[in-house]
Symmetry: C2
Subunit: 227 residues, 2 copies
């Protein structure tokens, strides 16, 4: 069951107060739990169906308004990077959803609470529930505090492969040793810091929600300085 | 250019008055026209990007609310039947969008005004423009007058193949002659009426936005009577 502290935290951190608390309960109920508690428990699958479309529109709208210079192809690629990403599971953790999931006994034993796809589903279902409870503007407000800042940091922008570009740039006049080292790594929320060394000398740093993204950011910073 | 009669008709038929008429103009402007008129013409591609997500959410929301008995898998299949369908092009024609499209000379000559994919794109772009101009509720109101009635008539429900089921039912005791004849067919809007004869005797009728759908409806009606 969704606990009181979590409900308070949702209000404090995100300004969200559910009118229909049963929608929040449903968003956090896995089918394995609903099967074990058939007296009225509904699982999150239908909210996930809705939440998937809610996130798709909210993110499309944000990209359309905030990236006026991107063309339709670039917008579509960026949208699919965001929607397809495993990042949603990290937001679910960051928002404290993980501890609220109602799981059946078998799934709990199997460690499903840490499964990325399940956490992603719960994030989608939460957004579906919020949409039903308070409409699209409430979802957009929530995403302004969670997903959108990462978009603006360029974490989903793979239109340019900075690592490859840096390598090609540096090796114009012969081989160069390029090294990426993870110097900090945390899981809740997922955050990586990477340093980039060129021929053993520190060149730049990069941060990201995963290692790949942090390395891209480090390469981007190096290119900005060197090019 | 979007003409005055069309703007009046949009208001009369659907109660839609655009605040920003330039969004409506953009929704109807093909890239071939924008290329020929670079002084300020914007093509519809970015509105189509947005409209695609707008339709996905509006339709998901409608299905979620109006089909409480469907499970998540059935909802997903029905949504993809609707969104994937070429039916959007027929709505574009029905709503009078076809004559408003700004096309380049070459595309006009090539007959692109009748191309289904282009008409679909324009329908999506129109919904993107309406969303930007007036928000999701305005889109939902418009779809209540266009797309949703077809959903409720079961035109996108392919969870059951009625034609095959009817054939199997009728041929339990040996071969039977089943015949579908199109008895009425119109294009603006697209509407088909089909009669179903069993061993030469009239059994039922079916209507639909295409021949396949009308035949399915006729088979469904026959099964309802015979089973």
């Amino acid at each position: 069951m969704v606990n009181k502290e979590f409900i308070e935290q949702l209000d404090e951190k995100y300004g969200i107060k559910f009118h229909k608390i049963e929608l929040l309960e449903e968003a956090f109920t896995h089918s394995s739990y609903a099967n074990e508690h058939p007296e009225g428990s509904r699982d999150y699958e239908k909210l996930e169906f809705l939440g998937d479309a809610v996130l798709e529109l909210a993110i499309s709208d944000y990209l359309y308004r905030h990236y006026p210079k991107l063309n339709e192809g670039e917008l579509t690629r960026m949208r699919s990077n965001i929607v397809r990403t495993e990042g949603f599971s990290e937001f679910a953790i960051e928002c404290g959803f993980q501890d609220q999931i109602n799981l059946g006994k078998g799934e709990e034993k199997a460690g499903s609470r840490n499964r990325k796809t399940l956490l992603e589903d719960v994030f989608e279902a939460f957004n579906g529930a919020l949409f039903l409870d308070q409409g699209l503007p409430a979802v957009q407000k929530f995403l302004h505090l969670t997903v959108y800042p990462l978009i603006d940091r360029g974490e989903f922008d793979d239109s340019r492969d900075y690592k490859t570009d840096l390598q090609e740039f540096l090796q114009q006049n012969g081989p160069v040793e390029i090294e990426y080292n993870t110097i900090s790594e945390s899981q809740l929320p997922s955050h990586f810091v990477v340093e980039l060394k060129v021929n053993g000398k520190l060149q730049s740093h990069g941060e990201g929600h995963n290692k790949k993204s942090a390395e891209q950011q480090a390469a981007k910073a190096a290119l900005a300085e060197l090019e």
